[in-house]
């Protein structure tokens, strides 16, 4: 009985902590600029901005911190540096974060959502996501693994697109060659999985590059399933994380950006 009460307390606490709020609530280790970057959404000051999706955690998932901010802020910092180094895209120095119910989201046609195996979308957010993608926005979802998280992700995505099929991105899709020729067979692992000597997590053994296309065959939603590109960007400066994986993740990043800005 004591175990049960303890488990309930842990679940409640994690759920409480997962609610998005001012980052001051979480820790005082980040710089004030970094805090600001995630707490407000000013108009774009550059052609391209890294925008992280803020969402509520699913009720039946739990964790130490809000899943939407996984890998923050090193992932975007390294991502933007990589974009600037490898392309001529004029990119913002500071990342942004935004909810699907915030009108400001329509100022940013590129969106990144992480750990979506734990996400939860309200009806209003689902409608916002649908409208965002149909107007021409482009979103990448990343860092979720195995059949259970897929189920959670899909359940909430279906609120936005009940009938639109999720398909594997073909190898000849322009996404795979718009700047770099990319290999779909390589699984980009999270650092914890890699440190434990494997590339997969849970039962997500095989990498899947999946997507949701619009009526004109343009990719609206890129789904990195059973992979963790966010970790590859975040740990680009970590000698313990394999450099080839980081390089590949950067290449995918560039292709995602160039594809989003040309299709």
């Amino acid at each position: 009985m004591r175990s049960l009460i303890f488990l309930i307390c842990v679940l409640c606490a994690s759920q409480l902590l997962a609610q998005p709020r001012s980052l001051d609530f979480f820790q005082g280790t980040q710089s004030s600029t970094q805090k600001e970057s995630l707490s407000v959404t000013p108009p774009p000051d550059s052609e391209f901005s890294f925008v992280r999706l803020t969402y509520d955690q699913s009720l039946n998932s739990y964790g130490r911190r809000a899943p939407w901010r996984t890998d923050w802020p090193e992932a975007e910092t390294h991502f933007l540096q990589g974009i600037s180094r490898l392309s001529v895209v004029e990119s913002a120095d500071q990342a942004r974060s935004v909810r699907l119910t915030d009108e400001a989201i329509f100022d940013y046609p590129w969106l990144y959502a992480v750990d979506v195996g734990k996400w939860s979308l309200t009806a209003e957010e689902a409608a916002g996501l649908r409208e965002y993608l149909l107007r021409g926005g482009f979103m990448i979802v990343d860092d979720f693994h195995g059949s259970y998280e897929w189920q959670v992700f899909q359940t909430h995505l279906r609120k936005a697109f009940p009938d639109r099929p999720i398909v594997d991105i073909p190898e000849d899709d322009p996404l795979m060659s718009v700047m770099f020729d990319l290999d779909q067979s390589i699984q980009i692992p999270g650092i914890r999985a890699y440190n434990s000597g494997q590339t997969w997590e849970q039962d997500g053994y095989d990498p899947h590059w999946r997507g949701l296309y619009d009526d004109n065959g343009r990719l609206m939603l890129a789904i990195n399933f059973n992979m963790d590109l966010g970790d590859a960007w975040e740990h680009a400066d970590d000698p313990g994380y394999p450099e080839p994986m980081t390089s590949l993740a950067y290449r995918f990043a560039v292709n995602y950006v160039i594809y989003a800005m040309t299709h």
Partner: protein
């Protein structure tokens, strides 16, 4: 009344004084007259001096002036002035009366009798009978030939076309060896001969025969509406929306509905407001081109309840819909959202093939929508053949320095020589911030680029305002209805950024503006340059119109599709083939012309151009077009097609060993239609015709004056006469009045 009084007082009609020459003295030497005048003057002065103590000097002067006037009038009578006139001798002259018996004269002005029937009594009673009674020899002609009397005019075969110029020339030529006093033309002035020009008027004048015109018909057809012209290309691409400009007019202000039929199916419809008084308006109507094939479009104006000439409520136009997608090259020096969203907007319309060249890294560009792997392999085109293959060119945020001087010169030639359309967008490296102000391209743009080192690109969200020119624009519209169009302009979200540019050039049209801290700056403008057009849209942020509005909203798509369609709509091809019109009403001559240029768009004068013409009856003819010396690259020819119906024209051409792409066009032949258009009396033409030839214009009310006008004709056999003037009643009345005045003054002043 006036004329009668004039004739009584001055003894002769006014025309005599207008046409004749006054000879003031036929009796006595001038010295005798002057002598008499001096003697008379001396007597008047002596008489006045004798009465100087009895009358005030002013009264003496008044009396003296009256006496002097009497003396002058008397002397004038003594000199026996005459009027020298040259008058026709009716019995020696002939008058030709030419009556317009074309189909338009069979129209009714009152809904009961035809124009011809209506004018015949006037013709008979006021013209023919008086002329005959005066002794003139008359020759009555219809457009169909000579007739014996007015009754026969009604049975003369109605001509499909009013060929006034031809008929008049023939009549004057036929009478050239006779003594003709004049020609009377009875007509509504509707000439459909296509030969009405200054040369013809000169020829008319050279005959030396005065042509008097009797205008028939109302000058404004109050109950009538008409489609005067349809301006629409002969060919188009499938599944596009084509904007036709239709010219409409009406006698009175009214509303109607303009419909466009493809066969029996209505493909477009538009309510129209006609201002009346015969004023012409232009109405735009958008027509879906549909599938590949030929559209036989009929533009029809719904007739009014009181309108009985409904034949002119319809015009036809054959439209060839062929799969020829114009190509536009879009160059960006950096990946931008604007590129993505323009591309999406254009792709959805499908009327243009957009080739993209986007620089993605320092050494790499992404080529999108290209036809082959080799295309744009070396980046921006560096030869005429490569660049001139496009109809449009869009340059975004691209540094000018990234291109060679030759490539930049090529861009200018693309507009000037090839006739392509250039659109330059604002951006971080666009326009002035891209260094374009120091290139020859700056000279051809509709807006001046700002010189200086300061950045002109501003990444601040701001509203874009439509100018009055944009709201009036027939091609840049969000809705056909004026109010709805303006509302939709106002609803557009702010654009993401803008670039400050200089003033518009004198020939440019500004369609959009932005307001900023330094004032107002043009945002979208265009102008013609050389054979082509240039546009500037000083922003890279119209993509917000797509992202900020509901996904179903089409404003962003409409804006870009309209702009691109306008850009490519009039861009000439290297091979151009056209006919002088599309619907040949009562005209069997189909004038065809071709313009042949080589891939570098230099005129080619050594091409072999043939047109195969097939009419509705299956009769074919091959026309070899001949080069026009004054217009390099142009070839012309004429096909004569008598059968009514659809005419198919296939042009084939060879340039050296190269066989050029064939072009097919369609036209239509119809008879008996033209006379129903422009049915109001063309009095302007009839007046000018009369004036040029030395004649006069008359209406049914003034027709009786023709006889007097004819009397002093410069043409024909005339006789000279001297008319005595001294005994005209006016002189005696004047003398009497002068003496009575003197007597009354004297009586009043007591000095009788």
């Amino acid at each position: 009344m006036f004329e009668s009084l004039f004739s009584f007082l001055f003894k002769y009609p006014r025309e005599y004084y207008v046409e004749g020459e006054l000879i003031p003295q036929t009796w006595g030497q001038p010295a005798v007259v002057v002598g008499i005048l001096l003697v008379g003057l001396a007597l008047i002065i002596i008489s006045a001096l004798r009465s100087r103590d009895e009358l005030h000097p002013a009264r003496l002067i008044a009396i003296g002036a009256l006496q002097l006037t009497v003396l002058c009038v008397g002397l004038a009578m003594l000199m026996q002035p005459v009027l020298e006139v040259e008058e026709l001798r009716p019995q020696d002259n002939k008058v030709v009366v030419l009556v317009d018996t074309s189909r338009s004269m069979a129209l009714s002005d009152d809904g009961e009798i035809s124009r011809l029937q209506g004018i015949l009594p006037t013709l008979d009673l006021d013209i023919l009978q008086p002329l005959e009674e005066s002794g003139y020899s008359l020759e009555l002609q219809s457009f169909d030939g000579s007739v014996e009397n007015v009754e026969q005019l009604l049975s003369a075969g109605a001509q499909d076309r009013s060929l006034i110029t031809n008929q008049l020339t023939a009549a004057l030529r036929g009478a050239s060896n006779q003594s003709v006093a004049g020609l009377i033309l009875v007509s509504d002035g509707a000439d459909n001969s296509n030969e009405l020009n200054e040369l013809w008027f000169s020829q008319l004048q050279s005959f030396g025969v005065p042509v008097h015109t009797l205008g028939v018909g109302r000058e404004v057809m109050t109950e009538d509406m008409e489609i005067s012209a349809v301006n629409l290309p002969d060919s188009a691409i499938p599944d596009a929306n084509l904007r036709a400009e239709v010219t409409l007019q009406s006698g009175t202000a009214r509303q109607s509905i303009l419909k466009v039929y493809d066969g029996d199916r209505i493909v477009a419809s538009e309510p129209v407001e006609l201002p009346g008084e015969g004023r012409k308006i232009q109405q735009s109507i958008s027509i879906p081109t549909g599938d590949v094939g030929v559209r036989h479009l009929r533009f029809v104006l719904d007739p009014g309840a009181d309108e009985y000439n409904t034949q002119n409520n319809e015009l036809r136009h054959s439209l060839t819909v062929a799969q020829t997608q114009p190509r536009v090259l879009y160059v960006e020096g950096e990946p931008r959202w604007e590129y993505k969203f323009i591309r999406r907007a254009i792709e959805e319309a499908g009327f243009v093939h957009l080739h993209g060249l986007v620089q993605t890294s320092t050494n790499k560009s992404y080529r999108q929508g290209i036809d082959s792997p080799e295309q744009l392999e070396n980046g921006f085109p560096s030869t005429r053949d490569e660049l001139f293959n496009y109809q449009g060119l869009i340059i975004g945020s691209q540094q000018a320095a990234a291109l060679s001087q030759d490539q930049i010169a090529l861009i200018k030639d693309f507009v000037d020589v090839r006739g392509g359309s250039l659109l330059m967008l604002g951006g971080l490296s666009g326009l002035g911030d891209g260094g374009w102000q120091n290139t020859v391209v700056a000279d051809i743009l509709p807006l001046q680029l700002i010189q200086g080192d300061a950045d002109t690109f501003v990444r601040v969200q701001t509203p874009a305002y439509a100018t009055a020119a944009a709201l009036r624009s027939p091609w840049l519209r969000f809705a056909d209805d004026e109010i709805e169009n303006q509302d939709r302009w106002n609803l557009l979200p702010e654009i993401a950024d803008y670039q400050i540019v200089g003033e518009a050039r004198p020939g440019a049209t500004v369609l959009m503006e932005v307001q900023h801290s330094q004032g107002t700056s043009p945002l979208l403008a265009y102008q013609r340059y050389g054979r082509g057009k240039t546009y500037v849209l000083a922003s890279g942020g119209t993509w917000r119109w797509q992202m900020q509005m509901p996904s179903e909203d089409q404003s962003h798509e409409i804006f870009w599709q309209s702009l691109l369609q306008e850009m490519i709509s009039e861009v000439p091809q290297s091979i151009d083939f056209q006919t002088d019109t599309n619907w040949y009403m009562d005209n069997s001559r189909i004038e065809v012309s071709a313009n042949i240029r080589d891939p570098g768009f230099e005129p080619s004068g050594n091409a072999q151009v043939t047109v195969r013409v097939e009419d509705s009856a299956g009769q074919t003819q091959n026309i070899e077009l001949t080069p026009v010396a004054a217009e390099p690259g142009t070839y012309r020819g004429t096909a004569l097609v008598d059968n009514e119906g659809l005419v198919q024209l296939d042009m084939s051409a060879t340039l050296g060993e190269t066989e050029l792409d064939p072009i097919r066009l369609f036209a239509e032949r119809s008879d008996g239609r033209m006379e129903y258009f422009n049915t109001a009396q063309n009095s302007g033409f009839l007046k000018r015709l009369a004036s040029v030839s030395g004649g006069s214009y008359f209406t049914a009310d003034t027709a009786a004056g023709i006889l007097d006008e004819m009397r002093f004709s410069n043409s024909g056999i005339t006789e000279r006469d001297w008319l005595v003037l001294w005994n005209m009643p006016f002189v005696f009345i004047l003398l009497l009045m002068l003496k009575v005045s003197e007597w009354m003054l004297r009586r009043r002043w007591g000095r009788l």
